[in-house]
């Protein structure tokens, strides 16, 4: 009896050894706590195409900002002696029909196109978020009417009323921003409305409501921040379409006025000399396409990173 008692005590000692705190921690099956942003960045880094897109965009931004300061030419000074110089050491990307350096014109074009992309998508972001939030939060009849308006506007090709608005407002850079921004918010409004519709049924909104938080406060502080991921993705994807639209407008002769260059305008000038001096078209065409491609890659990567629910 005493033997077995001793045995038991012994086994107890063996099986229930105290463990130190460190060991306890080591047993925990937990990954280090990450914030949403860190998590998203980790997912983003895995996407090679997205990284490439980001790098291209950063290079383009640097080119747009620093290019005009560094290149020893001016976008409008003409010298007919130097017209149609092929790309070489003196003029990196050649000169156009008036002897203007293409490289510096492309840098100014980058300013215009990128500014247009960002400004237009910011405008459509603003309108779309406000419209979508109100529509989704109000619900019922208001929502139905607001969304029917969106349906009606989106049934007309945006190019048509962009052209009409440009004709009415006249050619200027701010008008291009406004027109493209004002016509591009439909998708954003739909997206935000969808997000708000599902978010407003969640408990935290109910909790806010019962604690007498005002409707505006709920929309601004609770609903919009929670829909942030999809909003950012959609904004990134709307930048290339704004650049695309600006280039097409410029191509049709609407947009900013000469001599200020934009990529679309440069491409249009290039086409008229396509047969003899094709480089005048290739460079702007490559710049436009690569930038749009980069934004598309970035947008897709951001979608995977910020919107994990989709997978």
């Amino acid at each position: 009896m005493t033997d077995s008692c001793e045995m038991m005590e012994k086994t107890e000692e063996i099986s229930f050894k105290r463990v130190s705190k460190d060991q306890k921690e080591a047993e925990k099956i937990l990954r280090p706590a990450t914030t949403f942003i860190q998590d998203a960045w980790a997912r983003f880094k895995r996407n090679k195409l997205g990284l490439v897109g980001l790098i291209i965009i950063v290079i383009m931004l640097i080119f747009a900002i620093i290019g005009p300061m560094v290149i020893p030419y001016d976008y409008r000074s003409q010298s007919l002696d130097n017209a149609f110089k092929a790309p070489g050491a003196e003029h990196l990307m050649g000169t156009d029909n008036l002897g203007r350096d293409m490289f510096v014109r492309l840098a100014y074009g980058a300013r215009i196109s990128l500014a247009c992309g960002f400004a237009a998508s910011l405008i459509s972001l603003g309108i779309g978020v406000i419209y979508g939030t109100i529509s989704g939060y109000a619900g019922g009849k208001v929502d139905e009417i607001m969304m029917r308006i969106v349906d009606i506007i989106s049934s007309i090709p945006s190019m048509l009323y962009v052209i009409l608005l440009m004709v009415v407002l006249g050619n200027s850079l701010t008008n291009v921003f406004i027109v493209i921004g004002v016509t591009g918010w439909l998708g954003m409004a739909r997206l935000v409305r969808g997000q708000v519709l599902s978010l407003k049924e969640r408990e935290f909104v109910l909790a806010a409501k019962v604690s007498n938080v005002s409707n505006w406060h709920i929309m601004l502080k609770h609903l919009i921040p929670n829909a942030f991921g999809p909003i950012i993705v959609s904004m990134t994807l709307s930048i290339p379409s704004a650049i695309f639209l600006e280039a097409s407008l410029q191509f049709l002769g609407l947009g900013i006025s000469a001599p200020m260059p934009s990529w679309g305008g440069l491409a249009q000038e290039g086409i008229s000399a396509l047969r003899s001096y094709p480089y005048l078209l290739w460079f702007p065409a490559i710049f436009i396409s690569v930038t749009i491609l980069a934004f598309n890659f970035l947008g897709d990567a951001l979608r995977d990173a910020l919107d994990p629910k989709q997978n």
Binding site: S155, I156, I163, L164, I271, L274, A285, I288, S289
Partner: protein, 303 residues
Amino acid sequence: MRRLFISIAVIFIIATTTFWMCRAVPGGPFDREKPLNPTIIENLNKKYHLDKPVFEQYIDYMVDVAKFDFGPSYFYKNETVNDYIDRCFPVSFILGIFAMIVAISLGIPAGIISALKQNKWQDNILKVLTTILVSLPNFVIASGLMYFLGYKLRILPVAMWGTPQQAVMPVLALAAYPLSYITKMMKSSMLEVLNNDYIRTARSKGVPRGKLIYKHALKNAILPVITVLGPMFAGIITGSLVVEKIFTIPGLGQQFTAAITNRDYTMIMGLTIFYSSLLIVSILIVDILYAVIDPRIKLSEGA
């Protein structure tokens, strides 16, 4: 019926907005750098009924539009906007139809391949190709084709309209964007259908793979693609503005671009209304077709 009514209302709203927007433009249509003789302007205003009050002009215009009469052109003397639509629209129509045929007949098989070989090399190649096609503005595609096929290889004429060879490049340039759109759409719809229970049932009872895809999956997967025909049509209209300009095709798109340059307001107004009505009617037809083909969908739900 309700859908029809909404469509007419939308066309009416578009016509109204277009009219007032064009009236809001500062400066009259006959302002020139060198001012014209006042009597000439007065006579011109009388000829185009611009001396009447604006609201009366509006009523007149709306009545005319309801009769499909878009009035005279401000820029071309003795010709009406309708003359131009009659003359130029058939060209644009043929161009658009061929672009659609190319986009559909290449896009649907590409989407099917992409769905069946998901994440294999065929899918990856198609994914990269469609992303590139979406990122290339149509004037880049058009001028690229023009340079390589027209100038370098000299196998196709570079511009104008009339022979089948001249149609090849514009059609390809126009088809590029809708093509990638349809491919993506077809792929996602095919993937969705392939996950359905009835496909598994068919597979487990031993239906051969080819028959499974063509008889069971394709019929259901192709339905959602019909709905993109509307947006696709819009894309082709927009594209035709640029493409017709590049290839100097005497179509409606080029007429529209010229009207912008000439500030020919009646032409811009008329063509905008014409294009939008065309689009709205075609969306309506697509919706009705969709309901006829797929009895699971009732029009009253969406409308």
